[in-house]
C-alpha cells in the first residue's frame, strides 16, 4: 500500500450505507473521526432520517474561503448543499436523502465526492488555480496560502504556464525530521535521475523558501525547531490534462499525508530493526553462559528424576 486513498475510508463507508439504503431501512447515525488534521462529523438525526449532514473542520478554513471566495463552495463545488456550519466545524453540507439521483453510479459518485471533502476544502485554492491553467485564463490571484498544520503551510503560486505548489514541512520529533529530510532529498534526486519521470512535475527541495515565494509580499517565512524545509512541485498543463485533474489534485494535496505516512513507516521499520538486532546481541551474550551442572532433574509432576546406574 504505497499510496493513500484520497478520501476517508470510515466516512465513505458510513456515507455509502446511508446513500444506498432504501428509504424504509434508513438508520440514524452520529460519527466523528479525524484524519491528518481534518475532523469529520457525519450526522443523520433520528427525528429526521431523510437529512444527512456532513460537517468538516480544517485549521485554515477562513484563509481558504478568503482565497477562493464564499461562493466557490456554495455554487461550484457543492451546489445547493452548503448550510450554516454546525458549532465547532468549518463547513456543513446537507443532503436530502429523498431527493437523490436514482442511478447507482451517480450515488457512488456522490459518496466518493463527499468522502473527499477534507481534500477538496484544503485543495480548493489549488483547484481554482489548476482550472484557470486548464482554461488558459489569467491567474485569479498572485498566490494562495493554506496553513493546514501548525508551523506548516502549502502555498499555491499560479504562473502563466505552470502552477507551483510549495510545501513548508515540519516534524516535531527530531528523528522524524531527519527521516523526512532524507525523503525530501530523495524525491528530488528521483525526479532528476529517472528518465521515465521526464513528464512528471519538477521537484525541488530547499531549506530556504524558493524564489517564487521570496518574490511575494506578505508571505511570512516558516521557522521553528522541527522545520525541515520547502519542497516545491511545478505542475504544468500537461500534468492535469485529459481528465487527470482529480487524481493530481488528490496526490498534490495529499503529499504531506503521504510523506507523514511513510516517515512513520520508516521509523517503525527502524525500531523493528533495532529490536531484532538487540535480541541477536543478547543471544551472543547468552553464548558466554556455561551450562549449570544438573544436580537433579525434575519430572513434569515435580518429582525428582534420577538416572539409573
Amino acid at each position: 500500500m504505497l499510496h493513500l486513498e484520497p478520501g476517508h475510508r470510515i466516512m465513505a463507508e458510513a456515507l455509502a450505507a446511508r446513500i444506498h439504503a432504501p428509504p424504509d431501512r434508513r438508520e440514524a447515525v452520529d460519527v466523528r473521526c479525524s484524519d491528518f488534521g481534518v475532523q469529520y462529523y457525519l450526522c443523520v438525526p433520528p427525528e429526521q432520517q431523510n437529512v444527512l449532514k456532513l460537517s468538516v473542520w480544517v485549521r485554515c478554513f477562513a484563509e481558504v474561503v478568503e482565497g477562493v471566495g464564499e461562493a466557490f463552495f456554495a455554487e461550484q463545488l457543492y451546489p445547493g448543499m452548503v448550510q450554516p456550519p454546525e458549532p465547532g466545524y468549518s463547513l456543513t453540507l446537507a443532503l436530502d436523502l429523498d431527493a437523490l439521483p436514482p442511478e447507482e453510479e451517480a450515488r457512488n459518485e456522490l459518496v466518493r465526492k463527499l468522502s473527499c471533502v477534507g481534500r477538496d476544502v484544503l485543495g480548493a485554492p489549488l483547484r481554482v488555480a489548476l482550472l484557470a491553467l486548464l482554461g488558459g485564463a489569467a491567474p485569479p490571484r498572485p498566490y494562495y496560502a493554506v496553513h493546514h498544520r501548525e508551523g506548516e503551510a502549502m502555498y499555491v503560486v499560479p504562473k502563466d504556464d505552470v502552477v507551483i505548489v510549495v510545501f513548508g514541512i515540519a516534524f516535531a520529533s527530531p528523528v522524524e525530521a531527519a527521516i523526512a529530510k532524507a525523503f525530501l532529498h530523495e524525491i528530488e534526486i528521483s525526479r532528476r535521475q529517472s528518465r521515465d519521470l521526464a513528464t512528471a512535475p519538477t521537484v525541488s527541495y530547499t531549506h530556504e523558501p524558493p524564489l517564487e515565494l521570496k518574490q511575494l509580499d506578505g508571505v511570512r517565512p516558516l521557522q521553528g525547531a522541527g522545520f525541515v524545509g520547502h519542497v516545491s512541485l511545478a505542475l504544468s498543463k500537461r500534468n492535469v490534462e485529459g481528465g487527470r485533474l482529480e487524481k493530481v489534485l488528490a496526490l498534490v494535496v495529499g503529499y504531506r499525508n503521504y510523506l507523514m505516512f511513510h516517515v512513520m513507516g520508516a521509523k517503525s521499520q527502524l525500531h523493528t530493526r533495532i529490536r531484532s538486532r538487540s535480541s541477536n546481541w543478547l543471544q551472543v551474550l547468552n553464548r558466554a553462559m556455561p551450562e549449570k551442572l544438573d544436580k537433579e532433574k525434575k519430572t513434569i509432576t515435580g518429582r525428582t528424576f534420577r538416572k539409573g546406574p
Partner: protein, 215 residues
C-alpha cells in the same frame, strides 16, 4: 567469529568486507580487554561488608590501573578503565559519512551516481547517523537488565559503556564475553549504516512512485 550466524540475521545486505578495515582496531581491543579482564573478587577495604566495582567507587587509588584509550580516528575510540575487580569499557561510535560511501559502493543494487554533495547534504548524513546511534544506544540501555554487562549511563564523552565485573567473569566465559563486546562493536557500525541506507532506499522508492503517478 561466527559470521555464518550473521548472514542468517536480519541484516542480509551488510557487506562483511567493510570489517577488514576495522580488524586491526578490534584485534587490539580484544587483546587489551583480555588483559584488562584479569579481575578477581575483591571486597571493599574502606567500607565494611561491601563488595562494589572499584572502578566505579574509586576510593582506593592503588586498586585502579591507568586508563587506556585505543583510538582509530577522531570519532572512533574506546576507553578501558580497569581496577582490581572491574573494568569499564566505553565506546565512541563512528559517526562519519565515509562508511556510507563504502556501503553504497558495496551495495548489491548500486545507486545511481550521487550528485555533488552540497553543504546541507553532508550535514544531513551526519545528523541521521547521530540520531540512529543515539536511538540505538538508548534502546539498549533501557534493556541493561538483560544485557547484564551494559552500564545504564555512558561515561561522559562516550556513546555507550560496559561495566564488566568479576561477577560477570565468574558467571560467563571470559573469551565469549569479549567476543560479545567485539561483535557488538563490529556490528553497531554496519547496522547503523545499513539502517540509514534502508531509509534512503525507501525514500527514493516512495518519491519515485509518487511522481510516477503524475506522469
Amino acid at each position: 567469529m561466527s559470521s555464518g550466524f550473521l548472514r542468517g540475521g536480519s541484516s542480509g545486505t551488510i557487506p562483511r568486507e567493510g570489517n577488514f578495515a576495522l580488524k586491526p582496531y578490534l584485534d587490539c581491543i580484544r587483546e587489551t580487554l583480555g588483559a584488562a579482564l584479569c579481575v578477581s573478587n575483591f571486597a571493599s577495604q574502606i567500607v565494611e561488608r561491601h563488595n562494589k566495582p572499584e572502578v566505579e567507587v574509586g576510593t582506593s587509588s592503588e586498586l585502579l590501573l591507568n586508563p587506556i584509550v585505543i583510538r582509530r580516528s577522531d570519532h572512533e575510540s574506546v576507553l578501558i578503565e580497569s581496577a582490581v575487580n572491574s573494568v569499564r569499557f566505553s565506546i565512541k561510535a563512528r559517526i562519519a559519512a565515509e562508511g556510507v560511501a563504502r556501503l553504497a559502493a558495496a551495495s548489491p543494487h548500486p545507486a545511481p551516481p550521487a550528485p555533488p554533495l552540497r553543504g546541507s547534504q553532508v550535514k544531513q548524513l551526519d545528523e541521521m547517523d547521530e540520531i540512529l546511534a543515539r536511538k540505538f544506544t538508548r534502546f539498549l540501555m533501557l534493556r541493561a537488565d538483560n544485557f547484564i554487562v551494559l552500564r545504564r549511563k555512558p561515561v561522559p564523552g562516550y556513546d555507550i559503556s560496559f561495566l564488566l565485573t568479576n561477577f560477570n567473569v565468574e558467571a560467563l566465559w571470559k573469551h565469549k564475553l569479549i567476543d560479545f563486546v567485539i561483535q557488538f562493536m563490529e556490528e553497531i557500525d554496519s547496522e547503523i549504516s545499513a539502517m540509514k541506507l534502508a531509509v534512503n532506499e525507501r525514500a527514493r522508492m516512495v518519491g519515485y512512485q509518487y511522481l510516477r503517478e503524475m506522469c
